[in-house]
Symmetry: C2
Amino acid sequence: MEKTLKIAVLGGGSWATAIVKMLTESMDEVGWYMRSVYAIEHIKRNDHNPSYLSSVEFDVDRLKLSNDINEIVAYADVCIFAIPSAFLHSELSALTVSFEGKRVVSAIKGIVPETGLIVGEYFNQHQNVDMDDIGVLTGPCHAEEVALERLSYLTVAFADETKAKELAEYFENDYINCKISDDIIGTEYAAVLKNIYAIAAGIAHGLGYGDNFQSVLMSNAIREMKRYIKKVHKMKRNINDSAYLGDLLVTGYSVFSRNRLFGNMLGKGYTVRSAQLEMSMIAEGYYATKSAYELNQKQGAKTPILDAVHDILYENKNPKKIFKKLAEKLD
Amino acid sequence: MEKTLKIAVLGGGSWATAIVKMLTESMDEVGWYMRSVYAIEHIKRNDHNPSYLSSVEFDVDRLKLSNDINEIVAYADVCIFAIPSAFLHSELSALTVSFEGKRVVSAIKGIVPETGLIVGEYFNQHQNVDMDDIGVLTGPCHAEEVALERLSYLTVAFADETKAKELAEYFENDYINCKISDDIIGTEYAAVLKNIYAIAAGIAHGLGYGDNFQSVLMSNAIREMKRYIKKVHKMKRNINDSAYLGDLLVTGYSVFSRNRLFGNMLGKGYTVRSAQLEMSMIAEGYYATKSAYELNQKQGAKTPILDAVHDILYENKNPKKIFKKLAEKLD
């Protein structure tokens, strides 16, 4: 297939940087919006992002860099968003260019806190993007391993699989296998929920639970995820596919996951506020927990792990007691 | 329920030691057969096993220790075998006492290499134990964490769940949640296959594949396990229950697993023979791979991971090339 799409990545963090790296392997030009003028100048002068994945060298002639979001959105046929969900709403407030005729891909995996919506739904409801033009780019994939060119698998989802296939071809290379899916709702909720389960894994670790418990927790988490997503959007899916189970495992077993680290601090006795201050950032799963919990009050899926994390984060409940009760519910 | 069964554990390794520890929490007497007179004398004098989980202190008054397998089998209503599968056949050659009227529980999770049978089938076909009297005791459970009294979940399976329930009550305590199942074939095959997948995880690690690949490998492994077990014994089961997925994860993600270590050495370039010599023991998954592969030649389940491990272990194929091909088949 001829590669004629203009693609832009929006975001300056490690996942955005990894996505740009993958695209530049096969494309002559990739649009890249980031807020920081300093970072842009650094990349132009030194061929790498100063703050994230700085071992990755770019051919800057292939980068159309700008800190003007309108310029980059106007340029692109496909806009891949990798801005933390907590900043998405405010970043987009500067936008005057329309998304009409463009495709918008969420690589964010969070809930937009101002709205309680997953990113795809947010673009649909707040930016008038047709659901047919909304895609999801998901793992299982640590950005750091993309930097090392270690074999990784991505999943691109669009309701219309031909659109997924078209975009997937831009990602395929020696170290990336890119799969497609038509489950834009399920893959994005899976990516949201797995951050919550990573917080749970962190709390358990912080409380002194071991590997035996962790395996039971993950086995229960994937069954809980299946029940939850089925309520949100019922369709034929195999929850053990890489985009769901693989993504859960790569995060839940990662010692680098910010969500797991956040949970670990809570398990060790930090308050939510002090853990957040200590991390000097807010883990995606923090917002996701509230929104996912509230949505489920209407849906009614059985979600003991989500409920436990919610009660610890938002009801100020004691992690040790909550996990003792949770452990009785797991099997 | 009144606890009136006489239970014995057969084996002297870490898993046998962990099982005895769990049983002595609630029982006044537990039978324990092990081959080594030296180890028995050491336990009697020093209250702990000299070679395995030596931090675990026993109340030796509660142990009926013997190196005479006939004495212990004659004593017990329930015989729990935790002897490595490679030694089971020769250990039982000394047996003159019959299993009539007794229950036999496999805590071995291997294939008896002389016969190609899983342990339950072996006892049925070679020791005339009725299938209704055969049980399986499975994890996800590292013995080391039982020694530390870290919360762990066991599964006891009998075709008749009342028998499973009866035995499960002997294991339940503050740090053990014991679940029951009626899937004696599936749980035992799951425990066998997970060792093979742990070898695969080790090979991948040794070859330099990272966490992204590992999560895809495990996600494919659980789907492969489901297909395989369905061919062996079709029944209603949720492959994401702890006894299947949990057991796969606790082994596949363990840096202590002998099977994973064995695979890791192969990935790093050791030959099969030199890896075995270096480890001074043979990982359970080594035999399991051959038997599981041969059985599947008749069954015809799609098993790319099993096939890859088989070709490396028994066809002397190059791990790097085989995994490159395997990676193309995973999704």
